[in-house]
Symmetry: C2
Subunit: 225 residues, 2 copies
Protein backbone atom coordinates (compact mmCIF):
# COMPACT_ATOMS: atom_id res chain seq x y z
CA UNK A 1 0.00 0.00 0.00
CA UNK A 2 1.48 3.41 -0.89
CA UNK A 3 2.74 5.35 2.09
CA UNK A 4 0.52 8.36 1.32
CA UNK A 5 -2.68 6.36 1.37
CA UNK A 6 -2.06 4.98 4.82
CA UNK A 7 -0.86 8.35 6.05
CA UNK A 8 -4.27 9.83 5.27
CA UNK A 9 -5.88 7.24 7.50
CA UNK A 10 -3.56 7.09 10.50
CA UNK A 11 -0.13 8.63 10.83
CA UNK A 12 0.96 6.29 13.64
CA UNK A 13 0.35 3.22 11.48
CA UNK A 14 2.52 4.63 8.75
CA UNK A 15 5.47 4.96 11.07
CA UNK A 16 5.02 1.43 12.34
CA UNK A 17 4.83 -0.08 8.90
CA UNK A 18 7.59 2.03 7.50
CA UNK A 19 10.08 1.42 10.18
CA UNK A 20 9.33 -2.23 10.90
CA UNK A 21 10.44 -3.92 7.71
CA UNK A 22 13.59 -1.87 7.27
CA UNK A 23 14.80 -2.42 10.84
CA UNK A 24 13.94 -6.08 11.10
CA UNK A 25 14.21 -7.85 7.79
CA UNK A 26 12.25 -11.08 7.65
CA UNK A 27 13.86 -14.19 6.24
CA UNK A 28 11.95 -17.24 5.11
CA UNK A 29 13.81 -20.28 3.82
CA UNK A 30 12.08 -22.90 1.69
CA UNK A 31 13.84 -26.21 1.25
CA UNK A 32 13.34 -29.91 1.77
CA UNK A 33 13.21 -31.41 5.25
CA UNK A 34 16.92 -32.15 4.81
CA UNK A 35 20.25 -30.55 5.58
CA UNK A 36 21.65 -30.68 2.01
CA UNK A 37 21.90 -27.30 0.31
CA UNK A 38 19.60 -25.69 2.85
CA UNK A 39 21.83 -26.27 5.86
CA UNK A 40 24.63 -23.89 4.76
CA UNK A 41 22.00 -21.14 4.51
CA UNK A 42 20.60 -22.03 7.94
CA UNK A 43 24.12 -21.97 9.32
CA UNK A 44 25.00 -18.58 7.87
CA UNK A 45 21.74 -17.06 9.13
CA UNK A 46 22.35 -18.37 12.64
CA UNK A 47 25.98 -17.20 12.42
CA UNK A 48 24.59 -13.74 11.63
CA UNK A 49 22.21 -13.99 14.56
CA UNK A 50 19.38 -13.63 12.08
CA UNK A 51 16.02 -15.16 12.93
CA UNK A 52 14.31 -16.96 10.08
CA UNK A 53 11.18 -18.90 9.31
CA UNK A 54 11.36 -22.23 7.57
CA UNK A 55 9.15 -24.10 5.18
CA UNK A 56 10.36 -27.71 4.94
CA UNK A 57 8.81 -29.50 1.99
CA UNK A 58 8.36 -33.25 2.60
CA UNK A 59 10.11 -35.17 -0.20
CA UNK A 60 6.86 -36.90 -1.15
CA UNK A 61 5.23 -33.50 -1.79
CA UNK A 62 8.05 -32.27 -4.03
CA UNK A 63 6.70 -33.56 -7.38
CA UNK A 64 3.51 -31.56 -6.84
CA UNK A 65 5.35 -28.51 -5.45
CA UNK A 66 8.16 -28.31 -8.01
CA UNK A 67 5.91 -26.90 -10.74
CA UNK A 68 4.75 -24.06 -8.50
CA UNK A 69 8.29 -22.75 -7.87
CA UNK A 70 10.09 -20.64 -10.45
CA UNK A 71 12.95 -22.62 -12.01
CA UNK A 72 11.64 -25.68 -10.12
CA UNK A 73 14.45 -25.65 -7.56
CA UNK A 74 15.00 -25.13 -3.86
CA UNK A 75 16.41 -23.63 -1.69
CA UNK A 76 14.73 -20.28 -2.12
CA UNK A 77 14.97 -17.46 0.38
CA UNK A 78 12.39 -14.72 0.82
CA UNK A 79 13.97 -11.59 2.25
CA UNK A 80 11.45 -8.89 3.08
CA UNK A 81 9.23 -10.28 0.33
CA UNK A 82 12.01 -10.42 -2.29
CA UNK A 83 12.41 -14.00 -3.46
CA UNK A 84 15.99 -15.13 -3.97
CA UNK A 85 16.95 -18.18 -6.03
CA UNK A 86 19.98 -20.46 -6.27
CA UNK A 87 21.76 -21.74 -3.16
CA UNK A 88 25.19 -20.40 -4.04
CA UNK A 89 23.92 -16.98 -5.10
CA UNK A 90 21.96 -16.72 -1.84
CA UNK A 91 24.96 -17.88 0.19
CA UNK A 92 27.35 -15.48 -1.51
CA UNK A 93 24.91 -12.60 -0.91
CA UNK A 94 24.51 -13.45 2.78
CA UNK A 95 28.23 -14.18 3.16
CA UNK A 96 29.09 -10.62 2.16
CA UNK A 97 26.81 -9.32 4.92
CA UNK A 98 28.33 -11.83 7.37
CA UNK A 99 31.93 -11.00 6.31
CA UNK A 100 32.44 -14.62 5.28
CA UNK A 101 33.12 -13.94 1.59
CA UNK A 102 36.80 -12.95 1.76
CA UNK A 103 38.43 -9.62 2.43
CA UNK A 104 39.52 -8.94 -1.15
CA UNK A 105 39.03 -10.25 -4.69
CA UNK A 106 41.72 -12.90 -4.39
CA UNK A 107 40.30 -14.26 -1.14
CA UNK A 108 36.84 -14.27 -2.72
CA UNK A 109 38.30 -16.23 -5.65
CA UNK A 110 39.83 -18.84 -3.31
CA UNK A 111 36.41 -19.36 -1.73
CA UNK A 112 34.59 -19.48 -5.08
CA UNK A 113 37.12 -21.92 -6.47
CA UNK A 114 36.80 -24.40 -3.63
CA UNK A 115 33.01 -24.05 -3.73
CA UNK A 116 33.27 -25.03 -7.40
CA UNK A 117 35.25 -28.14 -6.47
CA UNK A 118 32.67 -29.07 -3.82
CA UNK A 119 29.94 -28.50 -6.40
CA UNK A 120 31.65 -30.98 -8.70
CA UNK A 121 31.58 -33.54 -5.90
CA UNK A 122 27.92 -32.79 -5.19
CA UNK A 123 27.02 -33.22 -8.87
CA UNK A 124 28.53 -36.72 -8.75
CA UNK A 125 26.31 -37.86 -5.87
CA UNK A 126 23.07 -36.21 -7.03
CA UNK A 127 22.05 -39.12 -9.34
CA UNK A 128 21.80 -41.29 -6.22
CA UNK A 129 18.50 -39.63 -5.32
CA UNK A 130 16.94 -41.05 -8.50
CA UNK A 131 18.08 -44.64 -8.09
CA UNK A 132 15.34 -46.93 -6.74
CA UNK A 133 16.74 -50.39 -7.49
CA UNK A 134 18.56 -51.57 -4.32
CA UNK A 135 21.34 -53.39 -6.18
CA UNK A 136 21.98 -50.46 -8.49
CA UNK A 137 22.00 -48.16 -5.47
CA UNK A 138 24.54 -50.34 -3.68
CA UNK A 139 26.82 -50.37 -6.73
CA UNK A 140 26.57 -46.61 -7.14
CA UNK A 141 27.48 -46.06 -3.50
CA UNK A 142 30.39 -48.53 -3.65
CA UNK A 143 31.85 -46.77 -6.72
CA UNK A 144 31.26 -43.32 -5.21
CA UNK A 145 33.04 -44.35 -2.00
CA UNK A 146 35.91 -45.96 -3.85
CA UNK A 147 36.48 -43.25 -6.45
CA UNK A 148 34.80 -39.89 -5.92
CA UNK A 149 35.23 -39.51 -2.18
CA UNK A 150 38.98 -40.21 -1.95
CA UNK A 151 39.65 -38.17 -5.10
CA UNK A 152 37.96 -35.06 -3.73
CA UNK A 153 38.47 -35.52 0.01
CA UNK A 154 42.22 -36.04 -0.32
CA UNK A 155 42.45 -32.71 -2.14
CA UNK A 156 40.16 -30.94 0.31
CA UNK A 157 41.99 -32.40 3.30
CA UNK A 158 45.32 -31.20 1.92
CA UNK A 159 43.87 -27.72 1.50
CA UNK A 160 42.38 -27.79 4.99
CA UNK A 161 45.79 -28.88 6.28
CA UNK A 162 47.26 -25.61 5.01
CA UNK A 163 44.34 -23.51 6.27
CA UNK A 164 43.89 -24.43 9.94
CA UNK A 165 41.10 -26.82 9.02
CA UNK A 166 39.26 -24.26 6.91
CA UNK A 167 38.87 -24.51 3.15
CA UNK A 168 40.17 -21.10 2.11
CA UNK A 169 42.36 -18.27 3.35
CA UNK A 170 43.09 -19.85 6.75
CA UNK A 171 39.82 -18.64 8.26
CA UNK A 172 36.10 -19.34 8.35
CA UNK A 173 34.26 -18.62 5.10
CA UNK A 174 31.00 -19.65 3.49
CA UNK A 175 32.91 -22.44 1.72
CA UNK A 176 33.21 -24.17 5.11
CA UNK A 177 29.50 -23.82 5.77
CA UNK A 178 28.73 -25.02 2.25
CA UNK A 179 30.77 -28.19 2.71
CA UNK A 180 30.07 -29.03 6.33
CA UNK A 181 26.38 -28.18 6.10
CA UNK A 182 25.88 -30.35 3.04
CA UNK A 183 28.18 -33.31 3.73
CA UNK A 184 26.12 -34.62 6.64
CA UNK A 185 23.32 -35.43 4.20
CA UNK A 186 25.77 -37.33 2.03
CA UNK A 187 27.09 -39.21 5.05
CA UNK A 188 23.56 -40.16 6.10
CA UNK A 189 22.53 -41.16 2.60
CA UNK A 190 25.44 -43.55 2.15
CA UNK A 191 25.62 -44.55 5.86
CA UNK A 192 29.31 -43.69 6.03
CA UNK A 193 31.23 -41.28 8.19
CA UNK A 194 33.41 -39.50 5.66
CA UNK A 195 34.79 -36.48 7.46
CA UNK A 196 36.18 -38.49 10.38
CA UNK A 197 38.57 -40.21 7.96
CA UNK A 198 40.23 -36.90 7.06
CA UNK A 199 41.86 -35.23 10.08
CA UNK A 200 42.11 -31.71 8.69
CA UNK A 201 38.53 -31.78 7.47
CA UNK A 202 37.48 -33.10 10.87
CA UNK A 203 39.25 -30.17 12.50
CA UNK A 204 37.31 -27.87 10.15
CA UNK A 205 34.03 -29.52 11.10
CA UNK A 206 34.79 -29.11 14.80
CA UNK A 207 35.58 -25.44 14.25
CA UNK A 208 32.40 -24.85 12.26
CA UNK A 209 30.26 -26.73 14.80
CA UNK A 210 31.68 -24.71 17.69
CA UNK A 211 31.27 -21.32 16.01
CA UNK A 212 28.91 -19.09 18.02
CA UNK A 213 25.44 -19.08 16.51
CA UNK A 214 26.07 -22.24 14.54
CA UNK A 215 26.80 -24.12 17.75
CA UNK A 216 23.41 -23.22 19.20
CA UNK A 217 21.70 -24.02 15.89
CA UNK A 218 23.25 -27.50 15.78
CA UNK A 219 22.20 -28.15 19.38
CA UNK A 220 18.61 -27.17 18.67
CA UNK A 221 17.90 -27.82 15.00
CA UNK A 222 15.21 -30.22 13.82
CA UNK A 223 16.38 -33.78 13.26
CA UNK A 224 16.72 -34.57 9.56
CA UNK A 225 18.91 -36.39 7.07
CA UNK B 1 64.97 -14.99 -6.70
CA UNK B 2 64.96 -12.40 -3.89
CA UNK B 3 65.25 -8.82 -5.07
CA UNK B 4 68.35 -8.18 -2.97
CA UNK B 5 70.34 -11.02 -4.47
CA UNK B 6 69.84 -9.80 -8.01
CA UNK B 7 70.51 -6.23 -6.96
CA UNK B 8 74.02 -7.23 -5.89
CA UNK B 9 74.68 -8.49 -9.38
CA UNK B 10 73.16 -5.87 -11.64
CA UNK B 11 70.85 -3.04 -10.62
CA UNK B 12 69.43 -2.58 -14.14
CA UNK B 13 68.24 -6.20 -14.25
CA UNK B 14 66.40 -5.75 -10.98
CA UNK B 15 64.36 -2.87 -12.34
CA UNK B 16 63.49 -4.84 -15.46
CA UNK B 17 62.39 -7.90 -13.56
CA UNK B 18 60.59 -5.97 -10.89
CA UNK B 19 58.60 -3.81 -13.21
CA UNK B 20 57.83 -6.31 -15.94
CA UNK B 21 55.54 -8.79 -14.21
CA UNK B 22 53.59 -6.20 -12.25
CA UNK B 23 52.93 -3.98 -15.28
CA UNK B 24 52.08 -6.70 -17.75
CA UNK B 25 50.45 -9.72 -16.13
CA UNK B 26 50.55 -12.83 -18.31
CA UNK B 27 47.41 -14.88 -18.80
CA UNK B 28 47.36 -18.40 -20.12
CA UNK B 29 44.06 -20.20 -20.62
CA UNK B 30 43.90 -23.99 -20.85
CA UNK B 31 40.70 -25.49 -22.19
CA UNK B 32 39.42 -27.77 -24.93
CA UNK B 33 39.42 -26.68 -28.56
CA UNK B 34 35.83 -25.62 -28.00
CA UNK B 35 33.87 -22.52 -27.03
CA UNK B 36 31.99 -24.10 -24.10
CA UNK B 37 33.09 -22.85 -20.69
CA UNK B 38 36.31 -21.40 -22.10
CA UNK B 39 34.65 -18.88 -24.39
CA UNK B 40 33.21 -16.69 -21.60
CA UNK B 41 36.76 -16.37 -20.21
CA UNK B 42 38.14 -15.53 -23.65
CA UNK B 43 35.39 -12.95 -24.07
CA UNK B 44 36.03 -11.26 -20.75
CA UNK B 45 39.78 -11.11 -21.37
CA UNK B 46 39.27 -9.52 -24.80
CA UNK B 47 36.69 -7.16 -23.27
CA UNK B 48 39.39 -6.11 -20.80
CA UNK B 49 41.86 -5.64 -23.68
CA UNK B 50 44.00 -8.30 -22.01
CA UNK B 51 46.29 -10.39 -24.21
CA UNK B 52 46.36 -14.08 -23.37
CA UNK B 53 47.96 -17.29 -24.50
CA UNK B 54 45.87 -20.37 -25.14
CA UNK B 55 46.43 -24.07 -24.82
CA UNK B 56 43.62 -25.90 -26.59
CA UNK B 57 43.54 -29.58 -25.67
CA UNK B 58 42.23 -31.81 -28.48
CA UNK B 59 39.30 -33.86 -27.16
CA UNK B 60 41.09 -37.12 -28.04
CA UNK B 61 43.99 -36.13 -25.79
CA UNK B 62 41.78 -35.35 -22.80
CA UNK B 63 41.70 -38.84 -21.22
CA UNK B 64 45.52 -38.79 -20.99
CA UNK B 65 45.67 -35.13 -19.91
CA UNK B 66 42.89 -35.18 -17.29
CA UNK B 67 45.02 -37.02 -14.73
CA UNK B 68 47.80 -34.42 -14.97
CA UNK B 69 45.49 -31.51 -14.03
CA UNK B 70 44.53 -30.87 -10.42
CA UNK B 71 40.83 -31.67 -9.89
CA UNK B 72 40.82 -33.10 -13.46
CA UNK B 73 38.88 -30.18 -14.91
CA UNK B 74 39.32 -27.35 -17.37
CA UNK B 75 39.23 -24.40 -17.91
CA UNK B 76 42.21 -23.35 -15.84
CA UNK B 77 43.81 -19.93 -16.03
CA UNK B 78 47.44 -19.19 -15.19
CA UNK B 79 47.84 -15.58 -14.13
CA UNK B 80 51.47 -14.59 -13.60
CA UNK B 81 52.21 -18.18 -12.67
CA UNK B 82 49.28 -18.53 -10.25
CA UNK B 83 47.00 -21.32 -11.41
CA UNK B 84 43.29 -20.62 -11.07
CA UNK B 85 40.61 -23.31 -11.12
CA UNK B 86 36.89 -23.44 -11.79
CA UNK B 87 35.30 -21.50 -14.66
CA UNK B 88 32.85 -19.53 -12.55
CA UNK B 89 35.41 -18.62 -9.89
CA UNK B 90 37.79 -17.42 -12.62
CA UNK B 91 35.03 -15.49 -14.36
CA UNK B 92 33.85 -13.84 -11.16
CA UNK B 93 37.43 -12.82 -10.32
CA UNK B 94 38.02 -11.33 -13.77
CA UNK B 95 34.56 -9.77 -13.85
CA UNK B 96 35.37 -7.70 -10.77
CA UNK B 97 38.45 -6.31 -12.53
CA UNK B 98 36.36 -5.68 -15.66
CA UNK B 99 33.49 -4.05 -13.71
CA UNK B 100 31.11 -6.72 -15.00
CA UNK B 101 30.20 -8.19 -11.59
CA UNK B 102 27.55 -5.69 -10.49
CA UNK B 103 27.90 -2.36 -8.70
CA UNK B 104 26.66 -3.59 -5.33
CA UNK B 105 25.81 -6.79 -3.45
CA UNK B 106 22.27 -6.98 -4.79
CA UNK B 107 23.41 -6.55 -8.39
CA UNK B 108 26.09 -9.20 -7.79
CA UNK B 109 23.35 -11.50 -6.44
CA UNK B 110 21.20 -11.00 -9.55
CA UNK B 111 24.16 -12.02 -11.71
CA UNK B 112 25.06 -15.00 -9.51
CA UNK B 113 21.46 -16.16 -9.44
CA UNK B 114 21.04 -16.18 -13.22
CA UNK B 115 24.44 -17.85 -13.61
CA UNK B 116 23.10 -20.56 -11.30
CA UNK B 117 20.05 -20.99 -13.53
CA UNK B 118 22.27 -21.25 -16.63
CA UNK B 119 24.44 -23.77 -14.76
CA UNK B 120 21.35 -25.90 -14.16
CA UNK B 121 20.67 -25.86 -17.90
CA UNK B 122 24.30 -26.73 -18.65
CA UNK B 123 24.19 -29.66 -16.21
CA UNK B 124 21.23 -31.07 -18.14
CA UNK B 125 23.09 -31.12 -21.47
CA UNK B 126 26.46 -32.36 -20.15
CA UNK B 127 25.51 -36.09 -20.28
CA UNK B 128 25.22 -35.70 -24.07
CA UNK B 129 29.04 -35.71 -24.35
CA UNK B 130 29.12 -39.28 -23.03
CA UNK B 131 26.47 -40.77 -25.29
CA UNK B 132 27.95 -42.72 -28.21
CA UNK B 133 24.93 -44.67 -29.44
CA UNK B 134 23.36 -42.62 -32.31
CA UNK B 135 19.77 -43.55 -31.46
CA UNK B 136 20.23 -42.77 -27.78
CA UNK B 137 21.88 -39.49 -28.75
CA UNK B 138 18.97 -38.57 -30.97
CA UNK B 139 16.46 -39.32 -28.24
CA UNK B 140 18.42 -37.31 -25.69
CA UNK B 141 18.56 -34.32 -28.04
CA UNK B 142 14.85 -34.57 -28.88
CA UNK B 143 13.91 -34.60 -25.18
CA UNK B 144 16.34 -31.78 -24.38
CA UNK B 145 14.89 -29.64 -27.18
CA UNK B 146 11.32 -30.40 -26.20
CA UNK B 147 11.68 -29.97 -22.43
CA UNK B 148 14.84 -28.32 -21.13
CA UNK B 149 15.33 -25.63 -23.74
CA UNK B 150 11.84 -24.13 -23.66
CA UNK B 151 11.68 -24.40 -19.86
CA UNK B 152 14.88 -22.41 -19.35
CA UNK B 153 14.88 -20.20 -22.43
CA UNK B 154 11.36 -18.92 -21.83
CA UNK B 155 12.46 -17.80 -18.36
CA UNK B 156 15.71 -16.30 -19.60
CA UNK B 157 13.96 -14.54 -22.49
CA UNK B 158 11.45 -13.01 -20.10
CA UNK B 159 14.31 -11.75 -17.92
CA UNK B 160 16.18 -10.41 -20.95
CA UNK B 161 12.95 -8.67 -22.01
CA UNK B 162 13.05 -6.66 -18.79
CA UNK B 163 16.79 -5.98 -19.00
CA UNK B 164 17.40 -4.57 -22.49
CA UNK B 165 18.46 -7.98 -23.74
CA UNK B 166 20.88 -8.51 -20.86
CA UNK B 167 20.43 -11.15 -18.16
CA UNK B 168 20.78 -8.98 -15.06
CA UNK B 169 20.51 -5.38 -13.92
CA UNK B 170 19.73 -3.98 -17.39
CA UNK B 171 23.38 -3.89 -18.41
CA UNK B 172 26.24 -6.08 -19.58
CA UNK B 173 27.60 -8.48 -16.95
CA UNK B 174 29.59 -11.68 -16.90
CA UNK B 175 26.29 -13.59 -16.87
CA UNK B 176 25.80 -12.50 -20.50
CA UNK B 177 29.28 -13.67 -21.47
CA UNK B 178 28.70 -16.92 -19.59
CA UNK B 179 25.51 -17.66 -21.49
CA UNK B 180 26.34 -16.35 -24.95
CA UNK B 181 29.88 -17.74 -24.93
CA UNK B 182 28.70 -21.21 -23.95
CA UNK B 183 25.42 -21.54 -25.85
CA UNK B 184 27.07 -21.63 -29.27
CA UNK B 185 28.64 -24.96 -28.36
CA UNK B 186 25.24 -26.29 -27.38
CA UNK B 187 23.72 -25.00 -30.64
CA UNK B 188 26.49 -26.70 -32.64
CA UNK B 189 26.25 -29.93 -30.72
CA UNK B 190 22.52 -30.30 -31.28
CA UNK B 191 22.55 -28.63 -34.72
CA UNK B 192 19.83 -26.19 -33.69
CA UNK B 193 19.75 -22.42 -33.56
CA UNK B 194 18.29 -21.76 -30.14
CA UNK B 195 18.88 -18.09 -29.45
CA UNK B 196 17.25 -16.92 -32.69
CA UNK B 197 13.94 -18.33 -31.43
CA UNK B 198 13.95 -15.96 -28.44
CA UNK B 199 13.91 -12.30 -29.49
CA UNK B 200 15.16 -10.78 -26.23
CA UNK B 201 17.99 -13.31 -25.96
CA UNK B 202 18.84 -12.60 -29.60
CA UNK B 203 19.05 -8.90 -28.78
CA UNK B 204 21.39 -9.79 -25.93
CA UNK B 205 23.58 -11.86 -28.24
CA UNK B 206 23.79 -9.00 -30.74
CA UNK B 207 24.78 -6.62 -27.94
CA UNK B 208 27.46 -8.99 -26.59
CA UNK B 209 28.81 -9.67 -30.10
CA UNK B 210 29.10 -5.96 -30.88
CA UNK B 211 30.79 -5.03 -27.60
CA UNK B 212 34.26 -3.53 -28.22
CA UNK B 213 36.97 -6.13 -27.67
CA UNK B 214 34.53 -9.03 -27.93
CA UNK B 215 33.56 -7.90 -31.44
CA UNK B 216 37.18 -8.12 -32.63
CA UNK B 217 37.65 -11.44 -30.85
CA UNK B 218 34.63 -12.97 -32.57
CA UNK B 219 35.84 -11.72 -35.96
CA UNK B 220 39.28 -13.27 -35.47
CA UNK B 221 38.88 -16.24 -33.10
CA UNK B 222 39.82 -19.77 -34.13
CA UNK B 223 36.99 -21.81 -35.63
CA UNK B 224 35.66 -24.37 -33.17
CA UNK B 225 32.46 -25.97 -31.95
Amino acid sequence: MPKELIAEEDESVVIGMWRGPSEMPTYKLTYFDLKGLGEPIRMILTYMGQEFEERRIPLEEWPATKGTIKYGKVPILDVDGKRMYQAQAILRFLAKKAKLAGDNDLEAYEIDSIVGVITDLISLYVPLWQITDPKEKEEFIAKFKKESIPYYLNELDEIAGKNNGYLANGKLSWADLFFHGWVETLEGLISTEIVKQYPNMLLGREKVYSTPGIKEWIANRPKSL
